[in-house]
Amino acid sequence: MDWGGINPAVLVASLMTASVPIIFAAIGELVVEKSGVLNLGVEGMMIIGAICGFAVAVETGSPTLGFVGGAAGGAALSLIFALLTQVLMANQVATGLALTLFGLGLSSLIGQGYVGVKPPPTGRLDLGPLSDMPGLGTILFRHDVMVYLSVAAVAVVWAVLRYTRSGLVLRAVGENHDAAHALGYHVVRIRVLAILFGGAMAGLGGAYLSLIRVPQWTDGITAGAGWIALAIVVFASWRPWPVLLGAYLFGGITVLQLNLQAAGSRIPVQYLSMSPYLITILVLVIMSADRRRTAAAPASLGKTFHASR
């Protein structure tokens, strides 16, 4: 492995930025799936978040409002999914796929007037002396606020699922909705809330892409990030911290392979290009295999709930 001219601190800082959209989308989807709903519309919600966030930021001149708009856009789109799957009991897989197609088309329509427009810049947090520390300063203290928020989101989801009553209820609904219903929990209401949270998170991830990472609007800007997020939830066996790890692995190897190429590495490019996918899957599979529980998926995942049964 030649580290020819690659600065590890800069690399780690880059991977943290590169992984943010996937972290948001994946942690949102994790909550949705924990409640027993499989929403394959992540890509669609992300891209709607990307364009709504972009449009709001451009119109108001405020990136902060842009992120709020992105979350709202993603949540609004997920509401369609919630209505179809929870109220009208449509098939979740088909609805999710349709949601992605719809999101891609709708974002393109909304985005017609925003092609080639520059969004207002989002500043980095100025942490003064912390940012100036060699090494650590670069890695930890020179990001925009969304990078910290993405890690915080993972921590909060982990804590809520593990230590709170509402987290327990959410998991119960996902494991056995009939039992949860028999205990008097509102299965549909809980699932709709989870779907909305997932939508808002996917929207935030999308807005990060269009406002900070790329920063511009182009059709198809998410380019499959939503599908990566979905895969990471599965390979992380529906656990929050492994989701973060999976996203960092994927983002990190993506950034690393590009840096290796730029530095003129001797490793063939094809191997470098496929490495993010391979290594992420491998590591997460090995981690999952380590546990004695084989079936980590919520038992009611993807099943339609009807109260009269």
Binding site: S14, G116, K118, P215, A223, N259, Q261, A262
Partner: protein, 363 residues
């Protein structure tokens, strides 16, 4: 329709196709024109320009044409399905606007001998109803390379490649040769994105190059993301690719290579209407107007601009070919002797770097 007429119709259709069609081109009153795009028309680059060409066709012929298009068609079997649908949908001519549609175009053309197919940037014309067309983008790269070589302070220029195909390798070589001419110390780093259009990935590639000390970025991908990334770092410049990308002027976008497809599209659809369409292989450049150099901004010093325009004007006048010897291949073996210019066949199959470029072309 009852079964008998259906069978009779099928039989006569079969008989007709077996009889072999008389090669009589006929003028048409109205034609339907299809376009297959690899990215979205809002990409601000490659596909955007092809769509501008489509709009020019509509404007030119008005009621005599109907155009249809499909965006973001993956290169592969999906393309074949889309092409088949377009042909069944009554298109008289279909433009397939990406290298990766080459085989799909020829396969579908075999099934629809009455439909004309025009494939962009490819080299296979297996049937009389297939044409290929391309632009000499490397001429534009020569101009941008000249600017890059003179503008770089770190003596490192970066290039975001899409796929390792001849067209892209040609561009890398042309940029490097001309950067080196004006700056002997220049080195070029190439990052392969393995995509034509993925703004996030293109931004990451640009970022990686900048982290490696590159201060001029050329891109052979379709979005404006590399310029947006360059804008984040003061002192880094880049070029508009396929479209002018003037939103990023005067800096980081200091100039651009503009693909101008409109004249070609208008000409070919016109020929179809007149009944004079024939299978051809078109490859025009700056002189033919298919490649344009966007305005060189005030971020570039006057002498650099003058030098770049000198290259541009010489190419336009036909007095200079960007690949003029003496040039060696990367491994040091001779390619072009003193004063010799590269034959088109060498360029269209280009699978080697010229001498001085580090790194390997992925096989």
């Amino acid at each position: 329709m009852d079964r008998r007429t259906l069978l009779a119709g099928a039989a006569s259709g079969l008989a007709l196709s077996l009889a072999g069609r008389a090669a009589l081109a006929q003028a048409k009153d109205k034609v339907k024109v299809g376009f297959v795009y690899v990215g979205p028309i809002g990409d601000g680059g490659w596909t955007f320009q092809h769509n501008e060409g489509r709009l020019a066709v509509e404007k030119e012929f008005g009621d005599r044409v109907e155009t249809v298009y499909q965006e973001s068609v993956p290169e592969g079997s999906d393309a074949e399905r889309v092409l088949t649908q377009m042909a069944l949908g009554g298109c008289d001519i279909i433009f397939t606007t990406s290298f990766g549609y080459m085989d799909a175009t020829n396969n579908v053309a075999a099934k629809f001998p009455n439909v004309k197919f025009e494939h962009c940037t490819g080299f296979k014309r297996e049937h009389p109803n297939v044409s290929t067309y391309n632009a000499r983008f490397y001429e534009g790269r020569a101009v941008c390379g000249t600017i890059a070589g003179m503008m770089t302070k770190s003596n490192k220029i970066g290039y975001i490649g899409s796929y390792p195909i001849p067209e892209v390798v040609m561009g890398i070589n042309a940029a490097y040769i001309h950067a080196k001419k004006v700056n002997p110390d220049v080195t070029i780093s190439v990052v392969w994105a393995y995509t034509w259009f993925d703004p996030a990935k293109e931004a990451d590639a640009a970022k990686a190059l900048i982290e490696q000390g590159v201060d001029v970025i050329l891109a052979h991908t379709d979005s404006t993301a590399p310029l947006a990334e360059a804008a984040k770092t003061p002192g880094v410049i880049g070029f508009g690719q396929a479209s002018d990308m003037a939103a990023y002027a005067p800096s980081p976008r200091v100039s651009s290579i503009i693909d101008n497809w409109a004249p070609y599209y208008v000409k070919r659809v016109g020929m179809l209407l007149d009944g004079t369409w024939q299978s051809t292989d078109a490859w025009e450049g700056i002189a033919g107007g298919e490649v344009k150099i966007g305005e060189i901004t005030e971020a570039v010093p006057a002498e650099v601009k003058a030098k770049a325009m000198e290259v541009h004007d010489a190419i336009a006048a036909g007095t200079y070919h960007p690949f003029t010897g003496p040039l060696n291949k990367q491994d040091g073996s001779a390619w072009l002797a003193e004063g010799q210019t590269a034959p088109d066949s060498d360029l269209l199959g280009m699978n080697f770097y010229v001498e001085g470029i580090q790194g390997e072309i992925p096989k």
